[in-house]
């Protein structure tokens, strides 16, 4: 990351940068005068973070079930473990990926692949939790999911849109200890508005009802207490109704896109979800998670991953290309991952089983160096031979790229400080 060497680097123009810094310094010096002293270097580092955080967003393409590394970004053609999957060349000499991803191959110079992800968790729910939060599930502390951390740290509270949208159904990770405010708004499928965001009646009647609600709140006998709760309720309802009535909610309407753009993303659920993700980020949403199920290929691995790759390849490449073309890629991090990888050994049903020991993830944007590969496995893909990357390392990398301090501490309900990421080292090779 540019933090230390060039504290005010990055893609912001000089005038805006200086104005922002002046404003920032005024604030921090007032705080510093009150608190004692703030070291100069900390101020610079903090201001960099603040600048970068402006407009920064994250899109998580979540491959539920555990995508096979062999059939995605770490093919092993020529080895029995590689099966029938061939490797293809990419726009970056020396980097080959699986044959199912020709479109991604063409934009490989924007994509970094980590081939040496490793964890010890091979059960779907636990690993899903781990790869969403950086922690294993516990009863006492509910760790927040990636998107919730992003909104909590760099979300725009003034926005009428939700800060964190999850497309493609529920899973159990949410805001946890950060509080329900930071939970995702869940959309079952791209193309329809989020549940209950359309008035049940005509718009006009809805507005009339809101007025009545407000008037009756004023008329209610104040002697029955609950001042704080009434105020919170009013605030909540005004936020929710602003959302319902906001023209920005058009971001959820894919029909507003030209036909050519819809075709470019593909007119199927995952393609539409990627397009929606781009529209939402453009409209100010800080994190969008797109869930694609079906990667749990215990049987018929090759047929099934071929179909999955078909569904994933074009939208993913289109998303990254589209973001780049709109000048959004340098502040939008795209993360492609699932909860673990799959066994090198092909089982008798032509499937691959759970394999957390060595799997892959792909990253693009937000200053991540594209066209790079981190880590290696041996010829059969069973053992990491170079640069193992743990889950904490990955999360440290993701948050650093997003301008979020991974050492920031949130308080658990019983007053125990919990770091956003516990331990680990960022992958420096990708951050410079």
């Amino acid at each position: 990351m540019h933090d230390v060497s060039s504290p005010l680097g990055g893609g912001v123009n000089a005038t805006a940068r200086l104005a922002a810094r002046r404003a920032f310094l005024r604030r921090i010096s007032a705080a510093g005068a009150a608190a004692g002293m703030v070291p100069w270097t900390d101020i610079l580092r903090a201001s960099t973070r603040e600048l970068r955080a402006r407009g920064t967003a994250c899109i998580l393409l979540w491959m539920q079930g555990g995508p096979s590394q062999f059939e995605t970004f770490s093919p092993k053609p020529g080895h029995a473990n590689g099966g029938e999957t061939e490797a293809i060349a990419t726009s970056v000499p020396g980097i080959q990926i699986a044959e199912g991803f020709p479109q991604v191959a063409r934009i490989m110079d924007n994509v970094a692949v980590v081939r040496s992800m490793t964890s010890r968790e091979g059960s779907h729910p636990r690993a899903t939790f781990l790869l969403h939060t950086g922690y294993l599930p516990t009863a006492s502390v509910k760790h927040p999911t990636l998107g919730s951390v992003v909104v909590h740290q760099i979300g725009r509270s003034a926005s009428e849109l939700p800060g964190f949208v999850r497309i493609g159904g529920q899973d159990r990770t949410g805001a946890g200890l950060l509080g329900a405010t930071f939970n995702p708004l869940v959309v079952d499928e791209a193309g329809s508005p989020p549940p209950n965001t359309q008035p049940a009646t005509s718009r006009q009647r809805f507005v009339r009802r809101l007025d009545l609600l407000g008037q009756l709140a004023e008329d209610a006998p104040s002697a029955s207490g609950g001042r704080r709760q009434r105020a919170e309720h009013q605030e909540l309802y005004s936020r929710a109704s602003r959302m319902i009535l906001s023209p920005k909610m058009n971001a959820f309407d894919l029909d507003a896109e030209p036909d050519a753009m819809r075709d470019a993303y593909g007119r199927h659920p995952f393609g539409s979800a990627c397009l929606l993700a781009r529209r939402l980020v453009e409209a100010g949403v800080s994190c969008v998670e797109v869930v694609l199920r079906g990667w749990d290929t215990h049987q018929d691995n090759f047929d099934r991953t071929r179909k999955l790759a078909d569904a994933v390849d074009r939208p993913t490449a289109q998303l990254i290309g589209d973001l780049k073309q709109r000048g959004m890629l340098d502040r939008t991090l795209v993360v492609w991952m699932g909860e673990f990888g799959r066994t090198p050994r092909i089982n008798p049903r032509g499937g691959r089983d759970h394999f957390p020991r060595a799997f892959n993830v792909a990253l693009s944007g937000a200053g991540i160096g594209g066209g790079r590969v981190v880590g290696k496995t041996d010829a059969g893909g069973t053992t990491i031979t170079d640069r193992p990357v743990g889950v904490a390392d990955l999360f440290r990398t993701i948050y650093t790229a997003l301008g979020i301090d991974p050492d920031h501490e949130n308080m658990s309900p019983i007053g125990r400080p919990i770091k956003i990421v516990d331990g680990g080292e960022p992958i420096q090779e990708l951050l410079s």
Binding site: R120, E121, G122, S123, P125, R126, P137, T138, A139, S140, P162, R172, G179, A180, T181, N183, L185, V186, P194, P195, N196, T197, Q198, P199, A200, T201, R205, F206, R208, R209, L212, L213, Q215, L216, A217, E218, D219, A220, P221, A223, S224, G225, G226, R227, R228, Q229, R230, E232, H233, Q234, L236, Y237, R239, A240, S241, M243, I244, P413, I414, G415
Partner: protein, 569 residues
Amino acid sequence: MSRIEHATATRKGMISQMDSFYSSVGRVVFAITVCASVVSRPDSVSDRIMAADAITDVADRVHALWEQERAAEAEKSLATMADDETFLRRASLDLVGHLPTPDELAAFLLDPAPDKRAELVRRLLDDPRFGANWARYWRDVIMYRRLEDRAMVVSPALEAFLRQQLNNGTSWSAVAEQCITASGDVRENGATALFVAQDGRTEESTAEVARIFLGIQIQCAQCHDHVTDRWTRQQFHELAAFFTRIALRPKKTAEGRSFEVIGNDKPRQRRRPANAARRGSLEHYMPDLEHPDRPGTLMQPVFFLTSEKLPLGASDAQRRATLARWITGNPWFSRAFVNRVWAELIGEGFCEPVDDLGPDHQPQAPQAMEYLAAAFAAADHDIKWLYEVVMATPAYQRAAGVVPSDQTEKQDALASCCWQRLRADQLFDALNAAVGDSGQATPARRRGKAARAYRRSPRFRFGQVFGYDPSGDRQEVGGTIPQALAMMNAPQIDRLIQSRRSAWSAVLDELPDDRAVIEELYLRCLARQPGPAEVRTCMNYVKEVGERREALEDIMWALINSAEFLYRK
């Protein structure tokens, strides 16, 4: 105005209102029936009335201590007593989880008995909905901390188990003992829920037992000696040794997938897989933090609060039965329960969060808490007794936050009962009572599909949106955006409002007078009569809109979306 004067005034108002009601005759008859039933009380009630004096004594003593410790600290005057309308709604929601019906409200206001509040509390405690309501509360306490969703398979059985225990008047110590020692098919024995929720994992189960039954968060000591509490890592793992033989075994039956909790006294020796923790092992080892690959240190089962211990080699049944006895006999056990009930009823626990009592945290009003905990233990952990005591205190009976407006919210909280957001089940029932018909929205279960039917029931789905962890910080339990969106726009709720067959719709048809309908809607939704300003606003609204049905639907919509509807005050 004194309480009696107030009640009289309200009653007069009520009766004059009721003259205009189509149902006034029926309602008075109902009221008389209810009043009469007070005279011929069932045995279980009269038994407890024998002990009523004792209950009043304990309540007075607790309250004197509490007031002395809390009010003195805040240097302020206390709120006045809540009126009967408020008290009835509060007590009904708190005990049975339902709004009082307009008929019940009329009967209660008309009842001239000076001890009608205590009588109401006793009657509600004998209502089977008491067990249902608090079974759901404790289901949430346990299940919100589940590690995986598949644990939900135990939920219906857990609810049934707790409902039965609570309605039967089983003591809290007996409930806890059954939970700690439970085994068997998790769909048949709901007492296994705690272990199911923790996936049978030794350390996680240990932490939950301590949290729920002792109010002690010892799990921080799992990895390191705790900085603020005094328990050590070794003490945590010695406690874990009581649970080390528990295994959660998948089970396939004709009815689908299930699990059973077993005490695995002869586990097969095998290579330790990653999830060995849920398969049980003969003895527990404290991991070596420096060398995670080594087996660690063998732990003897020792109960950290008393240092009582069992020998290595003790069977699972021995370990758990012994520990259950030690836990339920310990003062922390009484404190933890008393703190929860006080917190849920008064709106602020002696200790917050409710499941983190210490040992090194200073409770608010420590003497009141100690006294109440000791009295609860002396009453053999009689759950209903404790509700009667707390609800007899002036702290419970005061109006919520009727204090001069310059006082801070923190001070309001201690002055009186404070506003609490309804739990999902309470809100679900309140909605059904206000706009729905019977409240029996759960479809009949088909054989073999019980678990699926449970998860597809409207109540369960409602809980997915409106539920919250009852052990969480109660200051934080405000509403969420998806909840506000659902209350305002959900088609299911809108259908209820629009339905011409619902009970509220019948009111609309039968009462030609708009004012009477508006009053009825307030009674149904908020269990109170509207004030003059509210009546004026509603009457004007009906006039402005012009379309009667539409305007009254809007008023109904506004009432169920009001803060007052969503909270118990």
